[in-house]
Amino acid sequence: MGRVGIIGVGQSAFVRGYPGSIRELAYEGFKEAMEDAQISNEDIDASIVCSAPEYDKQRSPAGVLAEYLGLIPQPTFYVESVCSSSSTGLKVAYSMIKAGLHDVVCVLGFQKMSEISSAESQERMGRGADIQWESPFGTMMPAYYAMYARAHMAKYGSTEEDLALIRIKAATYGQMNKKAVYRKPVTMEQIFDPERPPVATPLKVFDCCANADGSSCIIVASEEKAKALCEKPVWILGLGAASEAVNMAGRDLFTGLSVAIEAGKQAYEMAGVGPEDIDVAEVHDCFTIAEMMAYENLGFAKPGEGKELIGAKETYKEGKIPVNVDGGLLSKGHPIGATGGSQIRTIVLQLRGDAGPMQVENPEIGLVHNIGGVGLYGNVTILGRS
């Protein structure tokens, strides 16, 4: 059985309040990926649609999107693991191709978070975790990650200033990314503005990514098809995935995400590489602390030493392990179902040398770390040029 390659990538601009329907939003990422792959709709054997359903008005969006994108009568279905939905979709596509069921599969991630009113959105935020045992206390996503931040700070002496450096890095590259929702620089003074109370102590507004509307599309193919259709396919070298207790009470680790450690271990083993072999990475920085923990969970830094990595700017483009040099979720925005696909797109562009002003020098191997919920699901994907 041959390898599996990525032959086309695309994403819409990530925006606030997309002026169109979900099918039109999905079309934007799809069109870019199809033009990138230079294939026609008939070349695609199946499609996998990925989003978090709580933002959808449309029941079962897969069929609606497949029709609009000209992907019927081929099989289509829906995959969900909240914020990591589209990297889960990639794993499913890989499995179907490896199994010999299909040769070319389209993984379409989307989220129109503005599809529902802000009141409806506020209501859903309360149901983001264990609705029976945690939500009745009034929990929110930032507060969970804030608990991890507090535990990390207590154990390792990391500080709010260390986290601020991660936000400043994200903004450095967000300014270069035409698809990012937040394209302005961010300063220490803004981050520590006393007029802006913390969202959930110790996390402040700038420690949190923004909601956005967006779509992403990854076209995956068998080795034979990839070589026939594409000049520079990027190969899937390793896939890891894990899950964790939804309730904090069921967990043991609060200074890192166990799913990232486990998924990373699986992906490194499958790819036959280690953290030192990664030339460029995309990590799930829904909050600054999430990127700090990712450095340590993926082995880019030892536990507790993530602060030294960002402090020495080693995760900048010129550093020893460039991370989120497209602005990350912090600057790009986080349209839940589209996010993993956007991260994969960034690494594919990097490995092909097509990343423009964000290009890292000659990367061979890249990594994508995509987390669903507060470390509830974790996917780590390793991609390579050869």
Binding site: Q122, G126, P136, A143, M147, P198, M248, A249
Partner: protein, 145 residues
Amino acid sequence: MAKGKKEVDDRFGRFGTVSFTSISKVNDFIDYLAQGKVMGTRCKQCGATHFPPVADCAECLSSNVEWFEVTGTGKLVSFSTLTYGPVGFEDDLPYAIALLDYGDYKVFGRIAKDIPEKELSIGMAMKTEPLTLPNGQLSYVFSKA
């Protein structure tokens, strides 16, 4: 078969500021709370303790569980004070969510309203206390041991 309304045991709807579910096989948790007890479950077959309580033990596939009371003190694992809350929690703001580690199990909940954040530190001993909220709902909070 006789017609008539089937009685629904929806006691769980009384849990927390806003409850998002009302029917569960561990609804007795609510009666215990009303009696001033925070209770978890223990599997009678394998002895595994569970908090939050569960009706079924997935490890040994037994539903033969008994209740135990959360007593003594736990260590504060982490906490965060929210200044924004979801719909229905506006009147509670600001409030702190937290996790206590009791050794065999952990308890997720809220810090008692009268404890300022500056008096909290990771590792400190705290206890879990039942509470009736102003809206009549039942809950529990963590207070200093």
